[in-house]
C-alpha cells in the first residue's frame, strides 16, 4: 500500500487552474474534488465555502465537474448491469432497499419504470386517494393509494414544479405520511410507481397537490 504524505492546510490556495482573474487565488484540483466528495476538514471546508461564495468561476467549475462526474461512464470493471425489466433481481433489489430503509436514487433513463411509462406499454393504473381537493398541510401531508394485487412495494416520488425531485421513498405500505418534513408551500407533484413481478408497470401518474401552511 502506498504511503500518503500529510498535506498543509487549505490556506495554500494556489493558482493552479485556468480560472484566474488576475491576482486571485482559486481552489486547486484536489480541493475542488475533495469539496465535492466531502473530503475537506471542517476548517478547510469553511475556507472553501468562503472562497466559493465570492468566486463565480470556481462555482462554475464546481457545477461543471459535478455534472460531468455524475454523468460519466463507470470504469469497465465496475460498469453497472442494466436492471432487468422482468425477473427476481429487480424485485429483490427493491425489497432490499425497503428492508434497509434506503430511498431509491433518482431513476436513470434506463429505469424500467420510466422506460415502460414513456413507451406506454404494460402500464396499469394505481388509483390515488386525494382529499381536500388536492390541498395538503405543509407539516402533515398524507398520501394514499389503492393497493395493486400481487405487488409488495411502491416507489413514491415527490417533485417540485420544475421537476426537481424533493423526496423519493420505497414503501411496502399504501399510505405515506410526511409529518416530520415541512414541505415548501406551493404546487408539488407526486406519483407512485410499482414494478410488478410479471414485468408490468403500475402507476398513479403525476398528481398535483397544493401545499399550504
Amino acid at each position: 500500500m502506498l504511503q500518503r504524505a500529510s498535506l498543509p492546510p487549505v490556506q495554500r490556495m494556489t493558482t493552479m487552474g485556468p480560472f484566474a482573474p488576475d491576482g486571485h487565488d482559486h481552489l486547486d484540483a484536489e480541493q475542488v474534488a475533495a469539496f465535492l466528495d466531502g473530503g475537506l476538514s471542517p476548517a478547510d471546508r469553511l475556507a472553501a465555502e468562503s472562497h466559493l461564495a465570492a468566486c463565480a468561476p470556481c462555482r462554475a467549475e464546481l457545477a461543471q465537474v459535478r455534472a460531468l462526474a455524475a454523468s460519466a461512464p463507470a470504469p469497465s470493471r465496475r460498469r453497472r448491469l442494466p436492471v432487468p425489466v422482468r425477473g427476481a433481481l429487480a424485485a429483490a433489489a427493491v425489497l432490499a432497499a425497503v428492508a434497509i430503509g434506503l430511498p431509491l436514487l433518482t431513476p436513470s433513463p434506463d429505469d424500467p419504470l420510466l422506460r415502460a411509462d414513456r413507451q406506454g406499454e404494460g402500464v396499469a393504473t394505481i388509483e390515488p386517494y386525494t382529499s381536500n381537493a388536492g390541498v395538503v398541510a405543509a407539516g402533515n401531508a398524507l398520501f394514499a393509494w389503492r393497493p395493486v394485487a400481487g405487488n409488495s412495494s411502491y416507489r413514491f416520488t415527490l417533485t417540485d414544479e420544475v421537476g426537481d425531485v424533493v423526496l423519493q421513498e420505497v414503501t411496502a405500505d399504501t399510505l405515506l405520511r410526511l409529518d416530520t418534513l415541512r414541505l415548501p408551500a406551493g404546487a408539488l407533484y407526486w406519483r407512485v410507481d410499482a414494478l410488478l413481478p410479471d414485468g408490468q408497470v403500475a402507476t398513479t401518474r403525476m398528481q398535483r397537490i397544493e401545499v399550504r401552511d
Partner: protein, 221 residues
C-alpha cells in the same frame, strides 16, 4: 475520510522498470478512457478536437513520472474519478484556450456578468422584501427614491456579508448562478433538494430579520 486508490493506479505508481510501468499505464488508461473522453467531448463537440484534448490529457498525466497522479495519491481526500474529472476538464479548457484564445478581461466583465449579478440581487431582494424594488434602471429621477434604493442595496449587501460562508455560497449558487436546486443538493452534499429548500428558507429569514432590524419594513422606495 481517505479514499482508497484504484488498483490500476496503485500498480502504476508502484511499478518498477519501464516495461512494468508501460503495462500498468496501459491498464490505467484502458479503465479510465471512457471518462476522459466524456470530459473531452463536453468541451469539444468536434471529434478531432476532442481526441486532441484527450491526447493532451494523457500527455500531461504522464509528465514528470506521473507527477499529477502521484500528487493525487498523496492527497486522498477525494475519489479518483472526481479528481480525474477536474484535472481532465482543466486541461481541456487550457487546450481550448490555446486553440481559440482567452476571453479578454473586458469581455468577461461586460454586460452579461454584471447584468446577471444585478438581476440576482433584484431577485434576492424580491424574496427577502416581498416586492422590494431595487432595479437600478430607474425611470424617475426622484433623489429621495434613489437614496432609498441605495440604502436598501447597502443593507442587503451588509446582511449577506454577515452570513456564514455556507449560507452565502447557497445564495450565490441559487440567485447568481441560477443552479437548479437538485444540482445544489449534489454540489453541497445535501441529501435531497428538500434540504436545500429548507436551508434557503432559513437564510432568507435571516436576511429578512436583518433588514427589519435596520428599519426596512416597507420594501418600496
Amino acid at each position: 475520510m481517505t479514499h482508497p486508490l484504484p488498483p490500476e493506479l496503485e500498480r502504476l505508481l508502484s511499478a518498477r522498470g519501464s516495461t512494468a510501468r508501460e503495462r500498468a499505464w496501459d491498464a490505467l488508461i484502458a479503465e479510465w478512457t471512457p471518462l476522459l473522453l466524456h470530459v473531452a467531448r463536453s468541451v469539444f463537440h468536434e471529434r478531432d478536437a476532442a481526441m486532441d484534448a484527450y491526447a493532451a490529457i494523457l500527455e500531461q498525466l504522464r509528465q514528470r513520472d506521473y507527477h499529477r497522479l502521484r500528487q493525487f495519491s498523496a492527497d486522498g481526500r477525494s475519489r479518483f474519478s472526481t479528481w480525474l474529472v477536474v484535472i481532465a476538464k482543466r486541461i481541456c479548457v487550457d487546450v481550448h484556450r490555446r486553440r481559440y484564445g482567452r476571453v479578454s478581461r473586458a469581455e468577461s466583465a461586460a454586460a452579461p456578468g454584471a447584468a446577471a449579478e444585478r438581476t440576482a440581487r433584484v431577485r434576492l431582494a424580491d424574496l427577502v422584501g416581498d416586492s422590494l424594488d431595487v432595479d437600478v434602471a430607474a425611470t424617475e429621477d426622484d433623489a429621495e427614491a434613489r437614496l432609498r434604493r441605495t440604502e436598501l442595496r447597502e443593507h442587503l449587501s451588509e446582511a449577506i456579508a454577515g452570513l456564514a460562508p455556507a449560507d452565502r455560497l447557497l445564495l450565490a449558487l441559487r440567485f447568481e448562478d441560477d443552479v437548479p436546486v437538485r444540482d445544489i443538493a449534489g454540489m453541497l452534499g445535501m441529501p435531497t433538494p428538500f434540504h436545500v429548500y429548507r436551508a434557503l428558507n432559513r437564510v432568507l429569514g435571516l436576511l429578512r430579520t436583518h433588514m427589519e432590524a435596520r428599519g426596512v419594513t416597507d420594501p418600496t422606495p
